[in-house]
Every structure is written in structure tokens, then in C-alpha cells.
Amino acid sequence: MTRNIGKWLISGPPVFYLAVFFVIPTFIMVLASFRHAGEFGGLAPIFLHDVRGAHLNLTLESYREYFSDFIYSRLFIKTLIYALVTTFFCLVTAYPLALLIAGSEKRHRDLLVLLVILPFWSNFLIRIYAWMIILGPQSALSVGLNGFLGMFGIEPVGLLFTPFAVVLCLIYVQLPFMVLPLYANLEKHDPALLDAAQDLGANSWQRFWRITFPLSLPGVYAGIALVFIPVLGIFAVPDILGGTGGIMIGNLIKQEFLEARDWPFGSALSIILTLGALCIVGVAAMVAGRTVKNDA
């Protein structure tokens, strides 16, 4: 009996937290996506009492709208591509960094990890605005690049307000989320395994591809999930750096809620995005599960 009470005391708060902040909001969103928009924004009532009598006032209109115009799916696909490119570059930049930290002397490691998470100490938006300056037309980067291109007679290019700016900044903000799980994994590797591989005739390239990399796959998958999923819903970065060409589906959702005041359509977009992300992650997890079946 007391054992049961103890169990509830421990699992109660997280269950309560999940119910209040996850299950109920999700349910509200799903419901909202099937409702009509209110006349002046917001939502129309669920129950109507009119000539047809009392009835539920629900509709598939928002979903019909999404699928009736390819422009939305295109934005969704474009968002996916941004997320994939971001994830890829995060992975190839973070991996050597994580290897370096994990391979450095023990007393330096904590400091290096601290440096990786240092950007979190300043405001997210401020860090994005900083990129406006770095990529702006007067910046050393732009001036230098255009001077270089000019030598080959190529027209000057603008860096700011382009998809390039968006993806670059996304890589920047997401990088620590790739480095940390990779580092946490690599740091646990038994150095004796690499000695053994070398002893048995593996050169440094073979040691990496046959030992280090396969053993780090759980960290790779964790990093990919931590980078890829948040990027799908991000809107601040494209808002500030993307101009008109760089917007992502997150911007559209935000617009529907705040500017167009079409809450049902915004909700439907959110649901579609969530389901899409779930599908992708599910398929990826299945593929990944097959490759790291035995990671003892």
C-alpha cells in the first residue's frame, strides 16, 4: 500500500506536467484545427444553435485549404530541405569538434564543453541580430567576398535576407545541440578499443570508420533529432535574416495566428507539421534501429 503511494508521489508530478503542458494543449490544437475561424479572429463556437437546431460546428475546411494549394506543401518541403541541410552541416562540423574535445586531456574537457554552451548565456534574438551585422552589406565578410568576386568580374552578391543567411544562422544556433550528445557519447569510448584495432592492423582511417564512428551512432542519432526537429518549427531566424525568400513553415504558422488571425488554419498547419516530423523521425528511427541493433 505505502509502496503504491510512493510510486504515485514519484511519477505523479511528471505525469501531471505532461498532461497539463503536453496532452491538453495538443488536444486543444487538434480540436482547433477542425473549427471555424471566428468573425474577428479567434475561434467560432463549437456548438451552434440555429435553424438546423443544435449541432456541432466542425469542419475539414483548414485541411482542404492546405491540400488545395500546393504552395503550402512547397513551403513544407522547403522547410524540410533547410532542416536537412542544417542537420548535415551541423553533423560534419560538430563531429570533429566533439572528437577533439573527447580526445583532449581530462582537465581541459570541462572548459571546452563550457565554451560550446557559452552562447546560451546570451539572448537568442541578440545572437541572431548579431548575424545581421556579420552578413550585412557593410560587413567585412560581404565587402571582402564581393571584392574577391569582383576580381573575376562577378556581380556583387547580398548575403543578408537570403536562404543562405537563414541556413547559416540555423547551423550556428543548433550546433551545440549536435556537439553535446556526440561528445557525451565519444567521451565514453574505451580507448583500449582503438589500441586493439591499431594493434590488429587498422590504420587511423580504418580505426575511425570501423570503431569510433559505428560506436558513436547513438550519439549521432540523438544529435540529428535534437537539431532536425526544432529547426522544422523555427520562425525567429527566417523572420530576422530570411527576407521574403527565406521564410519557413514556422513563419506561416505564426502569421496565421498573429496576423491573418486564422487560428484553425494555423492549428491545422501545426498538426500537419507535427505529423510530418513524426513520420520522418519514425522512419529514421526504424532504419537506425536496424543498424545499431546491438550496441552493448
Partner: protein, 361 residues
């Protein structure tokens, strides 16, 4: 020519010499053991032979060729690590195939040799398992198979049995001896367990503080320890402070405080007047109520000071003369009698002169 020759190897960490001027020759086909207490430099020496570390001075020659510039992956030397270091993401068969794949050997041949190797270590039915699914002894055998499958010239084993329990260890010792005979590969075996070293090796190098104290066959190491450290480290040994009064050709007379004169074997050299210890193995001492004195024996009266019942034998600590304690062993051959003497019983002990050896300080 020796297979492996070490010439005056020195390796220091800071101003601490972990390996301090080690030279030895290891013959082809030998089961050679490095034996010594923890921290005496065994692993450091092994790592230099494998190539993970380089000596600050000295040479390592394999078949007469200097190895110093050869990286570990290019040396025909494999290691069985104490932790086994099996690759957890590969099956047993993949683990064993690893050194062959690194040598770009054809698939068909790899399969065949992996199968043979699995047979050799009696794991034919475990090829598809992962290391995490095996017992300690099985993992040990996989590590052996993996290190042997590509036929290295030399196999280094760093305390490979340390993680196993007693029973399994004895069984693996027998398997190791047989395996080494079968494959004919030279083994350099590291251990700090002296019984293991005595049981397995053709020759043993006893190390202490980065130096080789004695390099010899097991029976020589046991019976003719060259100094106090070796006598004390290998087995149990009575070490009694003594001084040489007369040194003959074969025998010598020692003066022991509180006991008197004792005859002992002369290890050779001009020793008259020198101080040292008399090393005397407990199992070479006879103990009884009354012992007939034969020629060439030392005999003393004393009383049992204490005893330790060990099951197969009982160890008696006998006090002879004034305050000299000598350990003697008596096998418990008769059933149902845990001990023959009790503390305080008067007894006699005796030993042949050549059971005791004088070790100069």
C-alpha cells in the same frame, strides 16, 4: 638468432624510470613470462614491444631488425589486452575477422580462417553472438582467437586471466599451454601471479622497479633465486639473516644470530665474511618429534610457535634457538587429522644443506 631482442630499454615518466635498462632475448616458439609486482613496469615494457610507446633509449629488434620506426599496425605482433578490448558492435565472428580484413584478405579465406579459429577456441556455435552476450571465459577465448588468427610472429598477453575466477583461471591456463603448443607462436605473457608464471612458462623474467632481477627457467627461479627479492617474491621462503664464516667449494658455513652454525649450498663466488640471508623453502624442511640426523643435514630443536591449517597442508611456525622463527610445511596426508602438533609442542626440524641457499646482500 633470437626472435625478439631487447637492448638496454629505458622508459621514464618525468624522472621516474618505469623501465630501467632491460635487456633480454626471446627465442622463437617460447612461452616467456614477465613476472613482477604491480607497478614494476611490465605493461610499459609490453606497450613498447607492441609499439604504443617508444623507449627513450635502447633498441627493440625483431629478427634482428630494429622496430622503433614501425608503427603498431605494421608490426607482426598482436596483443591480448587485460580488458580483452573486444569490439562491442561486432559479432564474435566479425571480431575475429577484423585483423584479416585489415590485411585485405579475400572473403572466402576469411570465412574459412575465422571458422578454424572459432574451432580452436571451442566457440564454433558462438560466432553470431555479440561480446556482451558471452561469459568472461568465452570473451577471453575470443580475444585469443582474434589475436592469433592472422598468425603474428609474437603474441603479447597482459594479465589475460586476471579478471577470471580461480577455477576458470586454472582451466584457461591449461588451454593456453595447449594453444601455444598447437599454434607454435611465441608468447610473451605478463602476470603478477607467481604460480601462474611457474606453471605456464618456459622462461621467466622476474622484474622489480623497472629492472630484471632474474631471468631463468621456472625451476631455477624457484630453487635458485639469485637475490632476496626473487626468493621472497616467488612462493614463500624463510629468509634468515646470516653471515658466512667458512666458504667451501660446494658448501658453506653460516653463522646465524641466536641459532648457531648452519651449512648451506655455496652459490659461488668469494663470500667468506659477507652478510646476507639464508633462503629456505618451507616444504624442504622436515618436521617431527624426533628426526634421525643424516649426513649433510642441519637439525635443530624447537617448539611450535603457531600453525596455520590450510586444508591440503599445515604451516608450522617453529621457534628454534633464541627468537628465530622458521616456517615448515607438513602435507595433511592422513584424513581426519587436521594437525599433528599443537602450539607449544616440542619438535625437531631438519633440512639438507643444499635446501638452503645463501643470498649475498
Amino acid at each position: 638468432m633470437a626472435l625478439l631482442e631487447l637492448r638496454n630499454i629505458v622508459r621514464s615518466f618525468g624522472d621516474f624510470a618505469a623501465v630501467d635498462g632491460v635487456s633480454m632475448m626471446i627465442e622463437s616458439g617460447e612461452f616467456f613470462t614477465l613476472l613482477g609486482p604491480s607497478g614494476c613496469g611490465k605493461t610499459t615494457l609490453l606497450r613498447m614491444i607492441a609499439g604504443f610507446d617508444a623507449p627513450q633509449s635502447g633498441e627493440i629488434l625483431l629478427d634482428g631488425k630494429d622496430l622503433v620506426a614501425t608503427p603498431p599496425e605494421k608490426r607482426p605482433i598482436h596483443t591480448v589486452f587485460q580488458s580483452y578490448a573486444l569490439f562491442p558492435h561486432m559479432t564474435v565472428a566479425q571480431n575475429i575477422a577484423f585483423p584479416l580484413r585489415m590485411r585485405k584478405i579475400g572473403k572466402a579465406e576469411i570465412n574459412e580462417r575465422v571458422k578454424e579459429a572459432l574451432d580452436d577456441v571451442r566457440l564454433s556455435d558462438r560466432g553470431g553472438r555479440f561480446p556482451g552476450e558471452l561469459s568472461g571465459g568465452q570473451r577471453q577465448r575470443v580475444a585469443l582467437a582474434r589475436a592469433l588468427v592472422s598468425r603474428p610472429r609474437l603474441l603479447l598477453l597482459d594479465e589475460p586471466l586476471a579478471a577470471l575466477d580461480m577455477k576458470l583461471r586454472e582451466q584457461m591456463q591449461l588451454e593456453l599451454i595447449n594453444l601455444q603448443k598447437e599454434v607454435g607462436i611465441t608468447f610473451i605473457y605478463v602476470t603478477h601471479d607467481q604460480t601462474e608464471a611457474l606453471a605456464l612458462s618456459h622462461r621467466i623474467a622476474v622484474m622489480n622497479g623497472g629492472k630484471v632481477e632474474q631471468l631463468d627457467e621456472p625451476s631455477k627461479i624457484y630453487d635458485c633465486p639469485r637475490n632476496r627479492f626473487v626468493a621472497d617474491f616467488i612462493g614463500t621462503c624463510n629468509l634468515i639473516e646470516a653471515k658466512v664464516t667458512v666458504a667451501g667449494e660446494e658448501k658453506m658455513v653460516l653463522e646465524i644470530d641466536g641459532l648457531g652454525e648452519v651449512t648451506a649450498r655455496n652459490p659461488g663466488g668469494e663470500l667468506t665474511g659477507s652478510k646476507g640471508v639464508l633462503a629456505l623453502r618451507p616444504e624442504k624442511i622436515k618436521i617431527g618429534q624426533q628426526i634421525a640426523l643424516e649426513s649433510g643435514e642441519n637439525r635443530f630443536r624447537g617448539k611450535v610457535h603457531d600453525f596455520l591449517y590450510m586444508g591440503d597442508v599445515t604451516v608450522y611456525i617453529v621457534e628454534v634457538g633464541e627468537g628465530v622463527h622458521i616456517e615448515a610445511l607438513l602435507p595433511n596426508s592422513a584424513a581426519g587429522r587436521p594437525r599433528i602438533f599443537a602450539a607449544g609442542d616440542p619438535v625437531e626440524i631438519s633440512w639438507r644443506y643444499d635446501a638452503g641457499v645463501f643470498l649475498n646482500d
